[in-house]
Protein backbone atom coordinates (compact mmCIF):
# COMPACT_ATOMS: atom_id res chain seq x y z
CA UNK A 1 0.00 0.00 0.00
CA UNK A 2 2.96 2.31 -0.38
CA UNK A 3 0.90 4.37 -2.72
CA UNK A 4 1.93 7.65 -4.29
CA UNK A 5 0.05 10.83 -4.52
CA UNK A 6 0.32 14.52 -3.95
CA UNK A 7 -0.66 15.84 -0.58
CA UNK A 8 -3.09 18.72 -0.80
CA UNK A 9 -5.50 20.60 1.35
CA UNK A 10 -8.43 18.35 0.76
CA UNK A 11 -9.76 16.48 3.74
CA UNK A 12 -9.80 13.25 1.84
CA UNK A 13 -6.16 13.61 1.02
CA UNK A 14 -5.29 14.42 4.58
CA UNK A 15 -7.12 11.36 5.72
CA UNK A 16 -5.32 9.23 3.19
CA UNK A 17 -2.00 10.59 4.34
CA UNK A 18 -2.72 9.19 7.78
CA UNK A 19 -2.76 5.78 6.21
CA UNK A 20 0.60 5.81 4.57
CA UNK A 21 2.73 5.38 7.64
CA UNK A 22 0.58 2.56 8.91
CA UNK A 23 1.03 0.86 5.61
CA UNK A 24 4.77 1.31 5.69
CA UNK A 25 4.94 0.19 9.30
CA UNK A 26 3.38 -3.04 8.18
CA UNK A 27 6.35 -3.59 5.93
CA UNK A 28 9.09 -3.15 8.47
CA UNK A 29 9.86 -2.65 12.12
CA UNK A 30 11.66 0.62 11.78
CA UNK A 31 9.22 2.63 9.77
CA UNK A 32 8.63 6.34 9.73
CA UNK A 33 8.12 7.93 13.08
CA UNK A 34 4.56 9.05 12.87
CA UNK A 35 3.66 8.30 16.45
CA UNK A 36 7.03 9.09 17.97
CA UNK A 37 7.19 11.58 20.78
CA UNK A 38 10.57 12.97 19.76
CA UNK A 39 12.76 13.52 16.72
CA UNK A 40 16.04 12.58 18.37
CA UNK A 41 18.46 10.53 16.26
CA UNK A 42 18.60 6.84 17.09
CA UNK A 43 21.50 5.64 19.21
CA UNK A 44 23.68 3.22 17.26
CA UNK A 45 23.85 -0.31 18.54
CA UNK A 46 25.71 -3.43 17.44
CA UNK A 47 28.89 -3.84 15.45
CA UNK A 48 29.53 -2.28 12.07
CA UNK A 49 29.85 -5.11 9.56
CA UNK A 50 32.86 -4.89 7.29
CA UNK A 51 33.09 -5.83 3.62
CA UNK A 52 35.91 -8.12 2.40
CA UNK A 53 37.83 -5.06 1.20
CA UNK A 54 38.02 -3.77 4.76
CA UNK A 55 35.50 -0.97 4.39
CA UNK A 56 32.18 -0.81 6.21
CA UNK A 57 29.42 -2.74 4.52
CA UNK A 58 26.57 -0.33 3.83
CA UNK A 59 24.30 -3.06 2.52
CA UNK A 60 20.90 -3.02 4.09
CA UNK A 61 17.38 -1.73 4.22
CA UNK A 62 17.73 1.76 5.66
CA UNK A 63 14.08 2.68 5.83
CA UNK A 64 13.86 3.32 9.52
CA UNK A 65 13.49 6.77 11.01
CA UNK A 66 15.39 9.49 9.21
CA UNK A 67 14.52 10.90 5.84
CA UNK A 68 11.32 9.09 5.30
CA UNK A 69 9.16 12.03 4.30
CA UNK A 70 5.91 10.52 5.41
CA UNK A 71 5.93 11.83 8.95
CA UNK A 72 6.28 15.24 10.52
CA UNK A 73 8.79 13.89 13.09
CA UNK A 74 10.97 12.56 10.28
CA UNK A 75 10.71 15.82 8.41
CA UNK A 76 11.65 17.81 11.50
CA UNK A 77 14.59 15.51 12.15
CA UNK A 78 15.72 16.03 8.57
CA UNK A 79 15.82 19.80 8.99
CA UNK A 80 17.65 19.60 12.28
CA UNK A 81 14.91 20.23 14.81
CA UNK A 82 15.52 17.91 17.73
CA UNK A 83 12.33 17.61 19.71
CA UNK A 84 12.64 15.87 23.05
CA UNK A 85 9.98 15.35 25.68
CA UNK A 86 10.18 18.88 27.02
CA UNK A 87 13.05 20.47 25.12
CA UNK A 88 13.59 21.34 21.50
CA UNK A 89 16.83 22.39 19.87
CA UNK A 90 17.87 23.56 16.44
CA UNK A 91 21.04 21.53 16.01
CA UNK A 92 22.36 23.83 13.28
CA UNK A 93 22.29 27.00 15.39
CA UNK A 94 22.15 25.42 18.84
CA UNK A 95 19.15 27.61 19.68
CA UNK A 96 16.80 26.22 22.32
CA UNK A 97 13.15 26.36 21.27
CA UNK A 98 10.25 26.68 23.69
CA UNK A 99 8.46 23.38 24.22
CA UNK A 100 5.28 22.45 26.04
CA UNK A 101 4.55 18.83 26.99
CA UNK A 102 1.90 16.88 25.19
CA UNK A 103 -0.76 17.15 27.89
CA UNK A 104 -3.83 19.38 27.68
CA UNK A 105 -3.72 19.93 23.96
CA UNK A 106 -6.87 21.34 22.50
CA UNK A 107 -8.48 19.45 19.67
CA UNK A 108 -7.66 20.61 16.15
CA UNK A 109 -9.35 19.95 12.86
CA UNK A 110 -7.44 18.70 9.83
CA UNK A 111 -6.86 22.19 8.50
CA UNK A 112 -5.31 23.33 11.76
CA UNK A 113 -3.18 20.19 11.94
CA UNK A 114 -1.88 20.70 8.43
CA UNK A 115 -1.13 24.39 8.87
CA UNK A 116 0.79 23.62 12.03
CA UNK A 117 2.65 20.81 10.25
CA UNK A 118 3.66 23.23 7.51
CA UNK A 119 5.19 25.55 10.09
CA UNK A 120 6.86 22.72 11.99
CA UNK A 121 8.54 21.41 8.84
CA UNK A 122 10.07 24.74 7.94
CA UNK A 123 11.15 26.21 11.28
CA UNK A 124 14.76 25.07 10.95
CA UNK A 125 17.55 27.58 10.54
CA UNK A 126 19.77 25.62 8.16
CA UNK A 127 18.97 27.34 4.89
CA UNK A 128 21.12 27.66 1.78
CA UNK A 129 22.34 31.19 1.15
CA UNK A 130 21.48 32.22 -2.39
CA UNK A 131 22.87 35.22 -4.16
CA UNK A 132 20.63 38.20 -3.33
CA UNK A 133 19.19 38.43 -6.84
CA UNK A 134 17.62 34.98 -6.29
CA UNK A 135 16.13 35.51 -2.82
CA UNK A 136 12.75 36.54 -4.19
CA UNK A 137 12.69 33.67 -6.68
CA UNK A 138 13.26 31.11 -3.94
CA UNK A 139 10.52 32.69 -1.85
CA UNK A 140 8.13 32.72 -4.80
CA UNK A 141 8.86 29.10 -5.68
CA UNK A 142 8.26 28.09 -2.10
CA UNK A 143 5.06 30.11 -1.75
CA UNK A 144 3.72 28.71 -5.01
CA UNK A 145 5.04 25.19 -4.64
CA UNK A 146 1.64 23.68 -5.38
CA UNK A 147 2.23 24.80 -8.94
CA UNK A 148 6.00 25.16 -9.14
CA UNK A 149 7.40 22.08 -7.41
CA UNK A 150 9.24 20.13 -10.14
CA UNK A 151 8.49 16.83 -8.44
CA UNK A 152 4.78 17.39 -8.99
CA UNK A 153 3.04 15.06 -11.36
CA UNK A 154 5.22 12.13 -10.33
CA UNK A 155 8.45 13.53 -11.66
CA UNK A 156 11.66 12.44 -9.95
CA UNK A 157 12.91 14.21 -6.84
CA UNK A 158 16.49 13.91 -7.99
CA UNK A 159 19.79 14.11 -6.14
CA UNK A 160 20.10 15.12 -3.35
CA UNK A 161 16.42 15.73 -2.68
CA UNK A 162 15.77 12.00 -2.54
CA UNK A 163 17.85 11.92 0.64
CA UNK A 164 18.92 8.68 2.26
CA UNK A 165 18.50 5.64 0.01
CA UNK A 166 16.03 3.17 1.42
CA UNK A 167 18.14 0.25 0.25
CA UNK A 168 21.85 -0.05 -0.44
CA UNK A 169 23.59 -2.98 -2.09
CA UNK A 170 27.38 -2.88 -1.95
CA UNK A 171 29.71 -4.78 -4.24
CA UNK A 172 33.46 -4.27 -4.70
CA UNK A 173 32.90 -2.07 -7.76
CA UNK A 174 29.41 -0.62 -7.39
CA UNK A 175 26.89 0.67 -4.95
CA UNK A 176 23.23 0.37 -5.84
CA UNK A 177 20.84 2.79 -4.16
CA UNK A 178 17.09 2.29 -4.31
CA UNK A 179 14.54 4.96 -3.50
CA UNK A 180 10.97 3.71 -3.46
CA UNK A 181 8.41 6.17 -4.68
CA UNK A 182 7.12 8.32 -1.89
CA UNK A 183 3.81 9.82 -0.99
CA UNK A 184 3.53 12.56 1.55
CA UNK A 185 5.68 15.60 0.98
CA UNK A 186 6.85 14.74 -2.47
CA UNK A 187 5.21 12.15 -4.65
CA UNK A 188 7.82 10.54 -6.79
CA UNK A 189 8.38 7.50 -8.89
CA UNK A 190 10.70 4.75 -7.69
CA UNK A 191 14.28 5.60 -8.54
CA UNK A 192 17.63 3.85 -8.45
CA UNK A 193 21.26 4.81 -8.80
CA UNK A 194 24.15 2.58 -9.87
CA UNK A 195 27.28 4.20 -8.47
CA UNK A 196 30.75 3.04 -9.54
CA UNK A 197 33.33 2.87 -6.73
CA UNK A 198 36.10 1.44 -8.91
CA UNK A 199 38.27 4.53 -9.02
CA UNK A 200 37.04 5.91 -12.34
CA UNK A 201 36.87 9.63 -12.97
CA UNK A 202 33.91 11.82 -13.93
CA UNK A 203 33.00 12.37 -17.54
CA UNK A 204 33.72 15.91 -18.65
CA UNK A 205 30.76 18.02 -17.61
CA UNK A 206 30.38 19.35 -21.15
CA UNK A 207 29.91 15.80 -22.40
CA UNK A 208 27.14 14.96 -19.96
CA UNK A 209 23.47 15.39 -20.65
CA UNK A 210 21.93 16.91 -17.57
CA UNK A 211 19.80 14.46 -15.62
CA UNK A 212 17.82 14.36 -12.38
CA UNK A 213 20.40 12.23 -10.57
CA UNK A 214 23.52 13.33 -12.41
CA UNK A 215 26.63 11.21 -12.82
CA UNK A 216 27.61 9.77 -9.46
CA UNK A 217 30.97 8.22 -8.55
CA UNK A 218 31.85 6.97 -5.08
CA UNK A 219 35.07 6.56 -3.15
CA UNK A 220 36.02 5.83 0.43
CA UNK A 221 37.49 8.45 2.71
CA UNK A 222 38.42 6.34 5.72
CA UNK A 223 35.20 4.67 6.80
CA UNK A 224 32.98 7.18 5.04
CA UNK A 225 31.60 6.62 1.55
CA UNK A 226 31.74 9.83 -0.46
CA UNK A 227 29.50 10.00 -3.53
CA UNK A 228 30.38 12.81 -5.90
CA UNK A 229 27.80 13.85 -8.49
CA UNK A 230 27.78 16.28 -11.40
CA UNK A 231 25.86 16.56 -14.65
CA UNK A 232 22.41 17.61 -13.47
CA UNK A 233 19.54 19.19 -15.27
CA UNK A 234 18.34 22.45 -13.74
CA UNK A 235 14.81 21.20 -13.19
CA UNK A 236 14.89 19.67 -9.75
CA UNK A 237 14.99 21.28 -6.31
CA UNK A 238 17.70 20.13 -3.96
CA UNK A 239 15.92 19.81 -0.63
CA UNK A 240 12.59 18.51 0.49
CA UNK A 241 11.14 21.97 1.10
CA UNK A 242 11.90 25.55 0.28
CA UNK A 243 11.92 26.04 -3.47
CA UNK A 244 15.66 25.48 -3.57
CA UNK A 245 16.37 25.52 -7.29
CA UNK A 246 19.82 25.05 -8.80
CA UNK A 247 21.72 25.40 -12.05
CA UNK A 248 23.24 22.76 -14.32
CA UNK A 249 26.54 23.45 -12.60
CA UNK A 250 25.40 21.98 -9.32
CA UNK A 251 27.93 19.69 -7.70
CA UNK A 252 26.73 17.39 -4.92
CA UNK A 253 28.89 15.56 -2.42
CA UNK A 254 27.06 12.98 -0.34
CA UNK A 255 28.66 11.36 2.70
CA UNK A 256 27.39 8.08 4.15
CA UNK A 257 28.79 6.76 7.41
CA UNK A 258 27.66 3.56 9.03
CA UNK A 259 27.85 3.12 12.80
CA UNK A 260 26.35 -0.19 13.88
CA UNK A 261 22.72 -0.14 12.90
CA UNK A 262 22.64 3.54 11.93
CA UNK A 263 23.56 5.31 8.72
CA UNK A 264 24.32 9.04 8.79
CA UNK A 265 23.84 10.85 5.50
CA UNK A 266 24.67 14.41 4.52
CA UNK A 267 24.83 16.17 1.20
CA UNK A 268 26.82 19.28 0.37
CA UNK A 269 25.54 21.36 -2.53
CA UNK A 270 27.93 23.56 -4.44
CA UNK A 271 26.48 25.82 -7.09
CA UNK A 272 28.45 29.02 -7.62
CA UNK A 273 25.96 30.11 -10.27
CA UNK A 274 23.20 30.66 -7.73
CA UNK A 275 24.56 30.12 -4.21
CA UNK A 276 26.76 32.51 -2.25
CA UNK A 277 28.42 29.58 -0.52
CA UNK A 278 28.19 25.76 -0.40
CA UNK A 279 25.35 24.40 1.69
CA UNK A 280 25.24 21.18 3.67
CA UNK A 281 22.10 19.40 4.78
CA UNK A 282 21.59 18.71 8.43
CA UNK A 283 22.80 15.13 9.10
CA UNK A 284 20.04 12.58 8.73
CA UNK A 285 20.38 9.39 10.72
CA UNK A 286 18.62 6.35 9.25
CA UNK A 287 18.06 3.13 11.13
CA UNK A 288 18.70 -0.32 9.73
CA UNK A 289 15.60 -2.42 9.39
CA UNK A 290 16.17 -5.18 11.95
CA UNK A 291 14.09 -7.73 10.10
CA UNK A 292 16.47 -9.82 7.96
CA UNK A 293 13.55 -10.87 5.82
CA UNK A 294 12.28 -7.35 5.21
CA UNK A 295 11.92 -6.29 1.59
CA UNK A 296 10.90 -3.14 -0.17
CA UNK A 297 7.33 -3.61 -1.34
CA UNK A 298 6.38 -2.89 -4.90
CA UNK A 299 5.46 0.72 -5.38
CA UNK A 300 2.19 1.35 -7.11
CA UNK A 301 2.39 3.57 -10.16
CA UNK A 302 2.65 7.21 -9.20
CA UNK A 303 -0.61 8.90 -10.07
CA UNK A 304 -1.36 12.56 -9.52
CA UNK A 305 -4.92 12.98 -8.31
CA UNK A 306 -4.98 15.95 -6.02
CA UNK A 307 -4.27 19.06 -8.02
CA UNK A 308 -7.84 19.37 -9.17
CA UNK A 309 -8.81 19.81 -5.51
CA UNK A 310 -6.21 22.39 -4.54
CA UNK A 311 -7.94 25.70 -4.06
CA UNK A 312 -5.46 27.70 -1.98
CA UNK A 313 -1.72 28.29 -1.85
CA UNK A 314 -1.45 26.33 1.36
CA UNK A 315 1.28 23.79 0.95
CA UNK A 316 3.82 21.79 2.83
Amino acid sequence: MATHFRFSRSVATAALLCLLPAAVFAQNNGGPRMDHENTLPPTPTGPTPMAPDGHPDLTGLWNGLADNLLGVPNQMHNVGIEVGTDTTRDIHSGVQIATWPLQNRTRQNNEQNERAATLLRRMGSNRPIYKPQYWQRVKDFDANSNEEDPSNNCMPAGVPRMGVPSYIAQTPNYLVFIYPGQGGLIATATSYRMIPIDGRKHTNLEDLDGTWNGESIGHWEGDTMVVDSIGFNSTSWFDQLGGYFHSENMHVIERLHRDGNTLTWTATVEDPDVLLEPWTTTPRVALLNPDPKAILPESLPCSERDFAHVVTKEHH
Binding site: H36, V83, W100, L102, R107, V138, T312
Partner: protein
Protein backbone atom coordinates in the same frame (compact mmCIF):
# COMPACT_ATOMS: atom_id res chain seq x y z
CA UNK B 1 -9.84 -6.81 -10.56
CA UNK B 2 -6.81 -5.27 -8.91
CA UNK B 3 -8.12 -1.78 -9.37
CA UNK B 4 -11.33 -2.81 -7.67
CA UNK B 5 -9.42 -4.22 -4.70
CA UNK B 6 -7.45 -1.03 -4.42
CA UNK B 7 -10.62 1.03 -4.46
CA UNK B 8 -12.14 -1.08 -1.68
CA UNK B 9 -8.96 -0.87 0.37
CA UNK B 10 -8.75 2.87 -0.16
CA UNK B 11 -12.37 3.30 0.92
CA UNK B 12 -11.76 1.33 4.10
CA UNK B 13 -8.54 3.16 4.67
CA UNK B 14 -10.22 6.52 4.38
CA UNK B 15 -12.76 5.59 7.00
CA UNK B 16 -10.07 4.32 9.36
CA UNK B 17 -7.93 7.34 8.76
CA UNK B 18 -10.77 9.69 9.40
CA UNK B 19 -11.72 7.96 12.64
CA UNK B 20 -8.28 7.21 14.00
CA UNK B 21 -7.26 10.74 14.96
CA UNK B 22 -10.54 11.21 16.82
CA UNK B 23 -10.01 8.03 18.77
CA UNK B 24 -6.43 8.94 19.56
CA UNK B 25 -7.34 12.39 20.75
CA UNK B 26 -10.08 11.05 22.96
CA UNK B 27 -7.73 8.47 24.40
CA UNK B 28 -5.24 11.16 25.27
CA UNK B 29 -7.78 13.10 27.24
CA UNK B 30 -7.56 16.20 25.17
CA UNK B 31 -9.97 19.00 25.79
CA UNK B 32 -12.71 19.65 23.31
CA UNK B 33 -12.55 23.34 24.01
CA UNK B 34 -10.58 25.56 21.68
CA UNK B 35 -10.19 27.99 24.58
CA UNK B 36 -7.21 28.05 26.93
CA UNK B 37 -7.34 25.85 29.99
CA UNK B 38 -9.13 27.06 33.10
CA UNK B 39 -5.90 27.26 35.04
CA UNK B 40 -4.30 29.48 32.49
CA UNK B 41 -7.32 31.70 32.16
CA UNK B 42 -7.53 32.34 35.86
CA UNK B 43 -4.23 34.13 35.64
CA UNK B 44 -5.16 35.97 32.52
CA UNK B 45 -8.33 37.70 33.54
CA UNK B 46 -8.77 37.07 37.23
CA UNK B 47 -8.41 40.38 39.02
CA UNK B 48 -10.85 43.17 39.58
CA UNK B 49 -10.31 46.61 38.08
CA UNK B 50 -7.92 49.02 39.70
CA UNK B 51 -5.93 46.32 41.40
CA UNK B 52 -2.51 44.91 40.74
CA UNK B 53 -1.96 41.30 41.66
CA UNK B 54 1.12 39.15 41.14
CA UNK B 55 0.97 35.49 40.22
CA UNK B 56 3.22 32.58 41.11
CA UNK B 57 5.79 31.03 38.80
CA UNK B 58 3.45 28.24 37.75
CA UNK B 59 0.65 30.63 36.91
CA UNK B 60 3.12 32.81 35.02
CA UNK B 61 4.15 29.85 32.89
CA UNK B 62 0.53 29.02 32.16
CA UNK B 63 -0.18 32.62 31.26
CA UNK B 64 2.75 32.61 28.89
CA UNK B 65 1.58 29.43 27.23
CA UNK B 66 -1.88 30.91 26.72
CA UNK B 67 -0.32 34.01 25.18
CA UNK B 68 1.86 31.85 22.94
CA UNK B 69 -1.16 29.89 21.76
CA UNK B 70 -3.27 33.03 21.30
CA UNK B 71 -1.05 34.28 18.47
CA UNK B 72 -0.36 30.83 17.01
CA UNK B 73 3.23 30.63 18.20
CA UNK B 74 2.86 27.49 20.34
CA UNK B 75 1.75 24.75 17.98
CA UNK B 76 1.44 21.02 17.57
CA UNK B 77 0.16 18.92 14.74
CA UNK B 78 -1.71 15.68 14.76
CA UNK B 79 -1.03 14.99 11.09
CA UNK B 80 -0.62 11.27 10.77
CA UNK B 81 -1.27 10.78 14.46
CA UNK B 82 2.17 12.02 15.46
CA UNK B 83 2.64 12.86 19.11
CA UNK B 84 5.32 15.50 19.33
CA UNK B 85 4.94 18.12 22.05
CA UNK B 86 3.84 21.66 21.38
CA UNK B 87 6.70 23.90 20.25
CA UNK B 88 7.40 27.48 19.23
CA UNK B 89 7.08 27.33 15.44
CA UNK B 90 7.87 30.96 14.65
CA UNK B 91 11.22 31.57 13.00
CA UNK B 92 11.04 33.81 9.94
CA UNK B 93 8.24 36.14 8.89
CA UNK B 94 7.72 39.33 6.94
CA UNK B 95 5.06 41.96 6.76
CA UNK B 96 4.07 44.93 4.69
CA UNK B 97 2.18 48.00 5.80
CA UNK B 98 1.55 51.62 5.07
CA UNK B 99 0.81 54.66 7.17
CA UNK B 100 2.70 57.50 8.71
CA UNK B 101 6.06 57.93 10.32
CA UNK B 102 7.16 61.04 12.10
CA UNK B 103 10.43 62.88 12.15
CA UNK B 104 12.23 64.08 15.26
CA UNK B 105 11.74 67.75 14.38
CA UNK B 106 9.70 70.21 16.43
CA UNK B 107 5.96 69.79 16.77
CA UNK B 108 3.36 72.39 17.51
CA UNK B 109 2.39 70.90 20.87
CA UNK B 110 4.24 68.83 23.50
CA UNK B 111 3.53 65.13 23.00
CA UNK B 112 2.38 65.73 19.45
CA UNK B 113 4.24 64.06 16.61
CA UNK B 114 6.96 65.75 14.60
CA UNK B 115 6.78 66.26 10.84
CA UNK B 116 4.81 63.50 9.15
CA UNK B 117 5.90 61.27 6.28
CA UNK B 118 3.65 59.06 4.22
CA UNK B 119 5.32 55.70 4.76
CA UNK B 120 5.49 52.33 3.01
CA UNK B 121 6.96 49.76 5.37
CA UNK B 122 8.31 46.25 4.75
CA UNK B 123 9.96 44.22 7.48
CA UNK B 124 11.51 40.79 7.07
CA UNK B 125 12.77 39.12 10.19
CA UNK B 126 13.92 35.98 11.88
CA UNK B 127 14.47 34.82 15.43
CA UNK B 128 16.92 32.01 14.71
CA UNK B 129 19.27 33.83 14.30
CA UNK B 130 17.85 37.14 15.55
CA UNK B 131 17.77 39.41 12.50
CA UNK B 132 15.58 42.04 10.89
CA UNK B 133 15.59 44.02 7.66
CA UNK B 134 13.32 47.08 7.53
CA UNK B 135 12.74 48.74 4.19
CA UNK B 136 10.92 52.07 4.31
CA UNK B 137 9.92 54.60 1.71
CA UNK B 138 9.02 57.89 3.39
CA UNK B 139 7.55 60.82 1.54
CA UNK B 140 7.08 64.25 3.08
CA UNK B 141 4.54 66.59 1.60
CA UNK B 142 5.92 68.00 -1.65
CA UNK B 143 9.27 66.23 -1.28
CA UNK B 144 10.96 63.34 -3.06
CA UNK B 145 10.58 59.89 -1.45
CA UNK B 146 13.36 58.70 0.84
CA UNK B 147 14.17 55.00 0.65
CA UNK B 148 16.08 53.26 3.44
CA UNK B 149 17.00 49.66 4.19
CA UNK B 150 18.15 49.00 7.75
CA UNK B 151 19.43 45.58 8.78
CA UNK B 152 20.52 43.94 11.99
CA UNK B 153 21.75 40.43 12.68
CA UNK B 154 23.04 39.55 16.13
CA UNK B 155 25.60 42.23 16.97
CA UNK B 156 25.91 43.48 13.41
CA UNK B 157 23.95 46.40 11.99
CA UNK B 158 24.23 47.94 8.56
CA UNK B 159 22.34 49.96 5.97
CA UNK B 160 21.85 48.65 2.44
CA UNK B 161 21.61 50.60 -0.78
CA UNK B 162 19.61 47.67 -2.16
CA UNK B 163 18.43 44.36 -0.73
CA UNK B 164 21.47 42.17 -0.10
CA UNK B 165 23.94 44.94 -0.86
CA UNK B 166 27.61 44.37 -0.17
CA UNK B 167 27.52 40.60 -0.56
CA UNK B 168 28.73 40.53 -4.17
CA UNK B 169 31.15 42.87 -5.93
CA UNK B 170 29.32 45.66 -7.71
CA UNK B 171 25.98 44.83 -6.06
CA UNK B 172 25.24 47.87 -3.94
CA UNK B 173 26.77 49.24 -0.78
CA UNK B 174 26.48 48.01 2.79
CA UNK B 175 27.27 50.75 5.30
CA UNK B 176 28.08 49.58 8.83
CA UNK B 177 25.78 51.06 11.48
CA UNK B 178 26.89 49.33 14.66
CA UNK B 179 25.57 52.09 16.91
CA UNK B 180 22.06 51.27 15.74
CA UNK B 181 22.27 47.54 16.50
CA UNK B 182 20.55 47.65 19.88
CA UNK B 183 17.69 49.80 18.69
CA UNK B 184 17.08 47.53 15.70
CA UNK B 185 17.24 44.40 17.84
CA UNK B 186 14.78 45.99 20.22
CA UNK B 187 12.29 46.42 17.35
CA UNK B 188 12.58 42.69 16.70
CA UNK B 189 12.07 41.66 20.31
CA UNK B 190 9.16 44.04 20.84
CA UNK B 191 7.05 42.49 18.11
CA UNK B 192 4.35 40.28 19.68
CA UNK B 193 6.25 37.07 18.92
CA UNK B 194 9.53 38.54 20.17
CA UNK B 195 7.82 39.57 23.39
CA UNK B 196 6.63 36.03 24.03
CA UNK B 197 9.97 34.48 23.09
CA UNK B 198 11.86 36.93 25.30
CA UNK B 199 9.45 36.38 28.18
CA UNK B 200 10.01 32.63 27.90
CA UNK B 201 13.77 33.17 27.75
CA UNK B 202 13.59 35.27 30.91
CA UNK B 203 12.56 32.17 32.87
CA UNK B 204 11.92 32.86 36.54
CA UNK B 205 12.56 36.56 36.00
CA UNK B 206 9.29 36.82 34.06
CA UNK B 207 6.45 37.92 36.30
CA UNK B 208 2.76 37.81 35.46
CA UNK B 209 0.30 40.10 37.16
CA UNK B 210 -3.03 41.72 36.54
CA UNK B 211 -3.55 45.44 36.25
CA UNK B 212 -7.01 46.88 35.79
CA UNK B 213 -8.24 43.47 34.79
CA UNK B 214 -5.60 42.93 32.14
CA UNK B 215 -2.76 40.43 32.25
CA UNK B 216 0.67 42.03 32.39
CA UNK B 217 3.98 40.28 31.74
CA UNK B 218 7.12 41.96 33.07
CA UNK B 219 10.59 40.68 32.30
CA UNK B 220 14.12 41.76 31.44
CA UNK B 221 15.64 41.26 28.01
CA UNK B 222 19.01 39.55 27.66
CA UNK B 223 22.35 40.06 25.92
CA UNK B 224 23.11 43.64 24.86
CA UNK B 225 19.58 44.64 25.89
CA UNK B 226 19.89 43.11 29.36
CA UNK B 227 19.27 46.46 31.07
CA UNK B 228 15.93 46.87 29.33
CA UNK B 229 12.80 45.76 31.14
CA UNK B 230 9.69 45.00 29.10
CA UNK B 231 6.14 45.36 30.32
CA UNK B 232 3.64 43.68 28.02
CA UNK B 233 -0.11 43.99 28.47
CA UNK B 234 -2.38 41.33 27.00
CA UNK B 235 -5.83 41.98 25.62
CA UNK B 236 -8.94 39.96 26.36
CA UNK B 237 -7.87 37.39 23.76
CA UNK B 238 -4.47 37.06 25.48
CA UNK B 239 -2.73 38.73 22.56
CA UNK B 240 -0.01 41.29 23.15
CA UNK B 241 -1.80 44.66 23.04
CA UNK B 242 0.75 47.05 24.50
CA UNK B 243 4.48 46.91 25.10
CA UNK B 244 6.47 49.41 27.13
CA UNK B 245 10.16 49.41 27.92
CA UNK B 246 12.09 51.06 30.72
CA UNK B 247 15.69 51.10 31.77
CA UNK B 248 17.78 52.55 34.56
CA UNK B 249 20.78 52.56 32.26
CA UNK B 250 21.16 56.15 30.92
CA UNK B 251 22.86 54.88 27.75
CA UNK B 252 19.67 53.03 26.82
CA UNK B 253 17.13 55.77 27.43
CA UNK B 254 16.96 56.51 23.72
CA UNK B 255 15.54 53.03 23.26
CA UNK B 256 12.57 53.50 25.54
CA UNK B 257 9.57 52.63 23.49
CA UNK B 258 5.85 52.16 23.72
CA UNK B 259 4.02 50.12 21.10
CA UNK B 260 0.34 49.32 20.73
CA UNK B 261 -0.88 46.34 18.69
CA UNK B 262 -4.50 45.77 17.67
CA UNK B 263 -6.78 44.20 15.05
CA UNK B 264 -5.22 40.76 15.28
CA UNK B 265 -6.01 38.15 12.63
CA UNK B 266 -4.24 35.87 10.18
CA UNK B 267 -2.97 38.44 7.68
CA UNK B 268 -1.14 35.92 5.51
CA UNK B 269 -1.85 35.25 1.86
CA UNK B 270 -1.23 31.62 2.79
CA UNK B 271 -3.18 30.80 5.94
CA UNK B 272 -1.06 29.75 8.91
CA UNK B 273 -3.35 30.35 11.89
CA UNK B 274 -0.68 32.74 13.15
CA UNK B 275 -2.44 35.85 14.40
CA UNK B 276 -0.68 39.12 13.63
CA UNK B 277 -1.61 42.71 14.46
CA UNK B 278 -3.29 44.79 11.78
CA UNK B 279 -2.47 48.10 13.40
CA UNK B 280 0.83 49.11 14.99
CA UNK B 281 1.50 52.41 16.74
CA UNK B 282 4.99 53.04 18.07
CA UNK B 283 5.94 55.93 20.33
CA UNK B 284 9.26 57.08 21.65
CA UNK B 285 9.55 59.64 24.42
CA UNK B 286 5.77 59.81 24.41
CA UNK B 287 5.65 60.97 20.78
CA UNK B 288 4.38 58.85 17.91
CA UNK B 289 7.11 57.73 15.52
CA UNK B 290 5.18 55.19 13.47
CA UNK B 291 1.51 54.50 12.80
CA UNK B 292 1.11 51.51 10.52
CA UNK B 293 -1.79 49.62 8.95
CA UNK B 294 -0.62 46.12 8.08
CA UNK B 295 -1.54 44.86 4.62
CA UNK B 296 -0.01 41.38 4.63
CA UNK B 297 1.88 39.34 7.19
CA UNK B 298 3.58 36.17 5.93
CA UNK B 299 4.21 33.99 8.96
CA UNK B 300 4.84 30.77 7.07
CA UNK B 301 8.56 30.71 7.88
CA UNK B 302 9.41 32.10 4.42
CA UNK B 303 12.89 32.02 2.90
CA UNK B 304 14.56 35.03 4.52
CA UNK B 305 18.30 35.19 5.07
CA UNK B 306 20.54 37.83 6.58
CA UNK B 307 24.17 37.12 5.63
CA UNK B 308 26.52 39.73 7.07
CA UNK B 309 28.63 41.54 4.45
CA UNK B 310 32.36 41.15 4.94
CA UNK B 311 32.97 44.87 5.33
CA UNK B 312 30.42 44.98 8.14
CA UNK B 313 32.18 42.15 9.95
CA UNK B 314 35.46 43.96 9.56
CA UNK B 315 33.99 47.20 10.86
CA UNK B 316 32.65 45.41 13.92
CA UNK B 317 36.06 43.90 14.61
CA UNK B 318 37.70 47.33 14.90
Amino acid sequence: MRAKEIRVLAKRALMIAALAPLALQAARGQSNSPKPSTDAKSTAVGAADDTTKSSGASDAAKTLKVAAEAVGLARWSGVGGQRLPEVDVINTMEFWGSGSSYGSGPSNKPGEPGPAFKTEYHASLGYNPPAMRVEMTRTASGAAPQHTIEVVRDKYAWDESEIGAGLLPGKGTATPAMAAANNRLLQLWLLPYGVIKAAIAAGDKMKASTEKGATVLTFPLTGPLADVTVKATLDAQNQVAKVETRSDNPTLTDLLTEIEYSDYKDHGEIATDVKSPGHIVRKQGGRPVLDLQVKTWDANNPYLVFPVPENVKQAAAH
